[in-house]
């Protein structure tokens, strides 16, 4: 298991948003926490009922609001609480990923994973490896965002 090495990386701390399903990955993340696994603190989790509920617009909105990376995670195939939500999601994300690549958004900024309720260790790995990868990629300044005017 890789642990984020604060010494070697730059001072840049990426913002990462994770969209996870309620039944597998969220429970797995809970397990990672109660098992006191060492995880990068850069990931904010948003719990949804199923990966089938995760619209690609969620990912775009995360980037728009300043995320440097996104994680999408849910039940392994055949494990979906709703039978087939993850199968539908798998097709949608496969297509989304390739379209993003065609439009110049680096697919490395989006991690897709299957993490079950018992895979606390795998969740920690997904969090740590994604954080490391996005840290190396740097802040996602090139994403087409509207310029924020700061109100004093």
């Amino acid at each position: 298991m890789s642990v984020p090495a604060k010494e070697k990386a730059s001072s840049f701390e990426p913002n990462i948003v994770a969209f996870v399903c309620n039944w597998c990955t969220y429970t797995g993340a809970d397990l990672a926490g109660t098992s006191r696994l060492n995880m990068a603190p850069n990931v904010r989790i948003i719990r949804l009922p199923c990966t089938g509920r995760i619209d690609t617009l969620f990912i775009l909105k995360a980037f728009e609001r300043g995320a440097d990376g996104v994680i999408v995670s849910g039940c392994h195939p055949a494990d979906c609480h709703y039978t087939a939500g993850n199968y539908h999601a798998r097709r949608r994300f496969a297509v989304f990923r390739e379209l993003m690549e065609f439009m110049g958004v680096d697919p490395q900024r989006i991690t897709f994973s299957w993490v079950s309720a018992s895979e606390g260790g795998k969740w920690a790995e997904v969090v740590n490896s994604t954080t490391e990868k996005v840290r190396e990629l740097g802040p996602f300044v090139s994403y087409p965002r509207v310029a924020h005017a700061q109100v004093k």
Binding site: A84, R91, A94, R97, P144
Partner: protein, 290 residues
């Protein structure tokens, strides 16, 4: 042409339909025609300038067209894919519609094209088309024709972009999409964009900003293309309608390629083929998932 006019006349006289949707000549070229009077059938034409995708008028949001009653529609093989799409997605009942299939020899990119049809003028979607009538047709008119040879590789412009670095690609799309003024003409002319309320019009929550700044424009154009993945019938009307001259067809074409490579799907005029998004296989590729 006579055959088409006679058929339309017969359908109207026998009250099989209330109106025929076809093409007519206008001051500049060819435009869609709505004929509800047998005497008006002599206006109907079909030639290489008949570019428009008429099934766009069959979308349930076209309440004024629906008000005409039962329709007969002139369809090219490619247009029939939109009819199939609307039937597949329960927007249309096949039995409520008479389809007049035309044997098409290919169309120009522009309905006002004054030149003959050839490699120079042929619409991109006609590249490699057989020009035969659709199997969905109730009636078939016209002699078999051959589509002129294509003027090059249809996907040359796609390949050019794929060769670029990710940074170059993003810069290119930002440049193009910054031209968008969010008129949504691409959506309105699309036969498959039939939602009662488009996600881009929703304000609570406001997923896609309606402002034509680059953020809203990017989100809108990505979403428009994605919502048409496996549904786009490749009529090219979005790109032709765009007043900002954005090469929108590239996104749709890219998605068609992805659909074909990943799921072996090609858009067809068979309404019983399941759409690739909305169906799945247990062994779908997941090489990108950890």
């Amino acid at each position: 042409m006579e055959e088409l006019r006679e058929l339309a006349k017969k359908l109207l006289q026998e009250k099989q339909v209330n109106a025929v949707v076809g093409y007519e000549c206008d001051r500049r070229g060819v435009r869609p025609a709505f004929v509800d009077d047998p005497a008006g059938c002599d206006r109907l034409v079909f030639d290489h300038r008949c570019v428009q995708n008429l099934p766009a008028y069959l979308s349930p949001r076209r309440t004024n067209v629906a008000g005409l009653g039962r329709l007969a529609v002139v369809v090219k093989q490619c247009d029939a894919r939109a009819v199939a799409g609307l039937i597949r997605e329960s927007q249309l009942k096949r039995e409520n519609l008479v389809l007049i299939g035309v044997r098409c020899g290919g169309v120009a990119a522009n309905p006002n094209e004054s030149r003959e049809l050839g490699a120079e003028t042929l619409a991109l979607r006609c590249y490699g088309c057989s020009g035969t009538e659709t199997a969905m047709a109730d009636y078939v008119v016209g002699e078999p024709k051959t589509v002129p040879a294509a003027g090059g590789d249809r996907d040359a412009r796609l390949a050019e972009i794929e060769k670029m670095s990710p940074e170059e690609r993003l810069a290119l799309w930002k440049e193009w999409l910054s031209r968008c003024t969010r008129c949504h003409a691409c959506r309105q002319v699309c036969p498959m964009c039939f939602c009662e309320r488009c996600v881009a019009e929703k304000t609570q929550p406001n997923w896609i900003e309606s402002s034509p700044h680059i953020q809203g424009n990017f989100s809108w154009n990505v979403t428009r293309a994605l919502h048409l993945a496996g549904r786009c019938v490749d009529c090219g009307e979005c790109e032709r309608a765009c007043p900002a001259q954005i090469p929108l067809g590239l996104l749709n074409r890219k998605l068609a390629k992805i659909m074909s490579a990943r799921y072996g799907f090609a858009v067809t005029d068979d309404p019983s083929t399941p759409a690739p998004i909305g169906s799945y296989r247990l062994d779908d590729g997941q090489e990108f998932i950890l």
